[in-house]
């Protein structure tokens, strides 16, 4: 029997963020329904909130929330690029433009909204665009190519996002707003003034109280906007982003109830006037209001999914508090931002030197927080939101909450929050959920994140979550022991600082001052690495030699049979035929197994300890240097062939890779470091899977950081765009030194980033804005390491005392009889145990 006949049929019209969230919620509820998705756009749902990131280097794929495969995997029947055009309510069928018919038992409308274009003469010019979809972005990009000036009509949240996009496209950008201030819905007049000041400092011109009367052809520019006050503005293109209107035409035609000014009317169960049809997201009108933010849309989606799963589910309105970054400016709005509540009081703090503005709106007795505005500094947002959402009584002097921290007002401790307090608003995780996860056995921040998804969205709550988890674990008597090992009651980061501040230059000194016992195989190499990062003495100097892992001691990589592999540096993967011949000759002479590595170098295996100096003498004579494949240090910087040869390359990626590799070679770090440079956005060098990756643009270089391949792949984050050579290098210098200073032992940059409070934003502040005032110091320290670089192998070959160690036996010239090779595919490999027994028997 066809199972679809017995299954309940759910049809979802619209595949935006909210439509997708609904499908995901329903699939998770495992209701066994047959789900059909009808999407107008040619692609599955994507993150519209971060649309402007596409102009900052993120690809459309990066924004995707789902792929066709996601839906296939869920058993969802998904159709894209074929919009629904009619609902036949009697027959319970949805009809699409291509004439396909989908029968439903329950229908969910998630048709979203469209950008409002004011009815201005000339607004139909083909240089007038809207900003809503990925296709809109394509159109904006195409027009921007032939434009110098761009205007955004609309100074709200979306308008400013869009202005960011135009600015990223290199246009002289203007924002034109009808109202007297920017973001008039979310923030008050004072906040709006500060926002304007900050945005104008970024060379975006702001024009408020402007009523566009018509758009005509310009003289020097393509267009001219004429305003009601008889002023005008010359521009090459215009993007309308002046608010949204619900897409309710489908509902109107089906004669569902709609509001006077649009929007499909829903009740608290998100039901429309037809009990089998729901509406969610920006197309829905609840309590006379359209909720134009994604979080309330998600709550509606969850409410419907929950009902379909035979559980309670309702939408009771949603808090519209929001925290965001517009054109790089932090803006926060909570509750009654304008102080319109009767009898309310306000506290305002404005600092024009630091460019920040904060306002609190409280009840008349000063005990309850009713609203807040934050511009330029959102650090207090989380605390204030908790006061607001949970009705927590304010301290006697509420103004302390927004005054600079030096005034000593304690932040609201997480322990003061009730269990219902929302910690993570992206995933709707409450304090109670977190406590439940810990009661259920989670013993660390990472486990709590995995269990609850808290802090895996925007990451804004990471600091609060961390302190909550630490408090709760502490309360249960679980102490989080961060000691490196039994010899040092410190983390690697703390030891680094102790060594740096105290100018400690040896393990013995450090152990005497800050540790106990004799050390071990954990702390010795860690301290050796710290010493190398700080002072860069030869790793085989007598004070350091006993600290090194065998790979560092013998400057080669130990293999399973006790032999070593040798990897000379081939910077950027570029090698002359002459040098290739040398590698071949050395491998032939010493009978080594050869293999090309993933990092564009050549690995020579099977070298005996006592052969290493002779092998390296030949390599050094031919101009090779050590490749540090054995160290927790910079390995390789891969490159594609770049603009020198490639038809598509826009910069010399090989040249840059060689320059970077030669700069950072020998740098000791908490774990190995890998990098790559690609010559264009095709990204053939796979830079986005590296600790730091560089991708050429027409204007310079984009820098990506904290990527990883390997066991736990992580896509690198775009850190900065269109950098010139020197800026690129200074950012990488600071980034690497900051990582070396602050990471844990054996913590790759990817994990370091995932654990860094404040994430990439914090890192940008430290590295680009120099918020800690240490940028010069980080660069100076890198300069020391670069200037004191020595090829460890070359130095070792020149020192008979160091060479003495490269003997299998101190009292004999015999080789290690435990090393036995067999042949495979014309090369050697270590004999397996049974082969070894056979070979030894034959020899006897």
């Amino acid at each position: 029997m066809d199972s679809t006949k017995t299954q309940r049929r759910i049809v979802v019209v619209g595949n935006g963020m909210v439509g997708h969230h609904f499908v995901a919620s329903l699939v998770e509820a495992a209701t066994g329904d047959h789900i059909t998705v009808i999407g107008e756009e040619p692609r599955p749902a994507y993150d519209r909130v971060h649309l402007s990131d596409v102009f900052a280097g993120r690809s459309a794929e990066d924004l995707a929330m789902a792929t066709r495969e996601t839906y296939q995997g869920w058993g969802v029947d998904a159709h894209f690029g074929d919009p629904a055009i009619a609902i036949e309510r009697e027959a319970k069928v949805v009809v699409t433009e291509l004439g396909r018919r989908f029968a439903y038992d329950k229908l969910v409308l998630a048709t979203g909204s469209y950008p409002f274009v004011p009815p201005v003469p000339g607004a139909d010019n083909d240089r007038c665009l809207t900003y809503r979809t990925i296709d809109d972005l394509g159109a904006i990009k195409a027009k921007a190519r032939h434009s110098k000036v761009g205007v955004v009509v609309g100074g709200g949240l979306l308008g400013l996002e869009c202005a960011n996009a135009l600015k990223n496209l290199g246009l002289q950008t203007h924002v034109v707003e009808f109202a007297p201030g920017l973001m008039g819905v979310q923030i008050d007049e004072g906040g709006s003034r500060m926002l304007r000041r900050k945005i104008e400092a970024l060379e975006v011109q702001v024009h408020t109280s402007k009523n566009t009367s018509r758009i005509v052809a310009g003289t020097d520019t393509a267009l001219s906007m004429e305003f009601a006050d008889e002023t005008s503005l010359a521009t090459d293109m215009i993007v309308f982003s002046a608010g949204i209107r619900p897409r309710d035409d489908l509902a109107r035609k089906a004669e569902l109830g709609v509001g006077e000014r649009g929007g499909i009317v829903i009740d608290y169960k998100c039901k429309t006037s037809d009990a089998d049809i729901f509406a969610i997201g920006e197309c829905a009108l609840f309590g006379g209001r359209i909720y134009g933010l994604v979080a309330p849309g998600y709550r509606m989606a969850e409410a419907v999914a929950s009902q379909l799963a035979q559980r309670e589910g309702s939408f009771q309105g949603a808090d519209m508090s929001t925290k965001l970054k517009l054109l790089g400016v932090d803006v926060g709005s909570i509750g009654d931002a304008h102080g319109r509540s009767e009898g309310s009081m306000s506290f305002v703090f404005s600092d024009e030197r630091e460019d920040c503005y904060k306002r609190l709106v409280t009840s008349g007795d000063g005990k309850q927080l009713l609203g807040a505005v934050l511009v330029g500094d959102c650090e207090d947002y989380d605390t204030l939101l908790q006061y607001y959402l949970n009705g927590i009584e304010l301290p006697a002097d509420p103004q302390g909450l927004i005054l600079p921290a030096s005034s000593g007002q304690p932040l609201l401790g997480v322990s003061a929050l009730p269990a219902t307090a929302t910690i993570c608003s992206c995933h709707n995780v409450t304090k109670g959920d977190v406590i439940g996860a810990i009661d259920g056995g989670c013993c660390s921040l990472v486990e709590v994140k995995g269990e609850t998804s808290a802090s895996t969205g925007c990451g804004g709550c990471s600091a609060m979550l961390k302190s909550l988890v630490e408090d709760e674990l502490g309360a249960r008597g679980v102490t989080v022991d961060k000691s490196l090992c039994e010899h040092f009651p410190y983390t690697r980061q703390e030891l680094y600082h102790l060594a740096r501040i105290g100018e400690v230059k040896s393990f013995t000194e450090l152990l005497a001052a800050h540790g106990k016992g004799r050390g071990c195989d954990i702390c010795k190499p860690t301290v050796a690495s710290i010493m190398a990062s700080l002072w860069n003495e030869h790793i085989l100097a007598p004070a350091h030699v006993g600290l090194q892992d065998t790979n560092d001691t013998f400057m080669a990589n130990m293999q399973k049979d006790g032999t070593y592999s040798v990897v000379p540096r081939i910077a950027g993967g570029e090698i002359t035929p002459e040098k290739l011949l040398v590698l071949g000759k050395v491998a032939q002479d010493y009978g080594l197994y050869t293999k090309i590595t993933g990092g564009q170098r050549i690995d020579l295996f099977g070298a005996r300890l006592e052969q290493l100096p002779a092998i390296w003498a030949e390599l050094v004579a031919a101009g090779f240097e050590t490749g540090h494949a054995y160290g927790k240090s910079l390995r390789t910087i891969k490159s594609c062939v770049g603009s020198s040869w490639c038809r598509y390359g826009v910069q010399d990626s090989v040249g840059m890779a060689i320059r970077l590799e030669n700069r950072y070679k020998g740098l000791r770090s908490p774990h190995k470091l890998k990098s790559a440079v690609s010559g264009c956005t095709r990204e053939c060098a796979e830079a986005q899977s590296k600790d730091f990756g560089v991708i050429a643009t027409e204007h310079g270089w984009n820098l990506y950081i904290c990527g990883n391949g390997g066991m736990k792949p992580r896509h690198a984050d775009l850190f900065a765009t269109d950098l010139d050579d020197d800026t690129l290098i200074s950012y990488i210098d600071r980034f690497l030194m900051f990582y070396i200073r602050t990471a844990d032992r054996l913590q790759r940059t990817s994990v370091w980033m995932d654990n860094l409070e404040g994430g990439i934003e914090y890192l940008r502040q430290v590295i680009i804005e120099d918020s800690l005032g240490i940028a010069a110091e980080l660069e100076a320290q890198m300069a020391l390491v670069v200037d004191t670089y020595q090829c460890e192998w070359k130095a070792t070959l020149e020192d008979p005392a160091k060479l003495k160690r490269f003997r299998q036996f101190v009292n004999s010239e015999e080789p290690d009889n435990g090393v036995v090779f067999v042949q495979e595919r014309q090369q050697i490999r270590p004999a397996r145990a049974e082969e070894r027994l056979r070979l030894v028997a034959v020899a006897k």
Binding site: E486, H487, G517, R518, G519, C520, D521, C523, K524, P525, P542, V545, G546, L547, Q548, D549, T550, N551, T553, F554, M558, K560, D561, G562, K804, R805, R807, Q808, F809, V810, N811, S812, E814, D816, N817, G818, A833
Partner: protein, 114 residues
Amino acid sequence: MTAAEKYNWEPLCKREDLVAGSGVCALLGGEQVALFYLPDEEPAIYALGNRDPIGGANVLSRGIVGDIGGELVVASPLYKQHFSLRSGACLEDEAIKVEVYSVRLDGDSVLIAR
């Protein structure tokens, strides 16, 4: 007669062959002996079989020396198990033990008991 005098002490190598705070390997007949020289300890020299019984390669002399809970140990460079320098016992697996040799320093010579 002291304990030391009961053995037949045989010269193995020179003190200068040793590396302070670390290990080297010497050949004794057909056997590989890992020698660890810890000048601040009493005694200052220790000897174990060089073969790592877990990894199956002759590498213990190339491990890092230290202590775990006061017990002097070497960590195998292959899979990092710890072996006691005094007893040869593996701290991670009590069923595993490596050979322990009696060694002592005599002036510039390293002597091993046969």
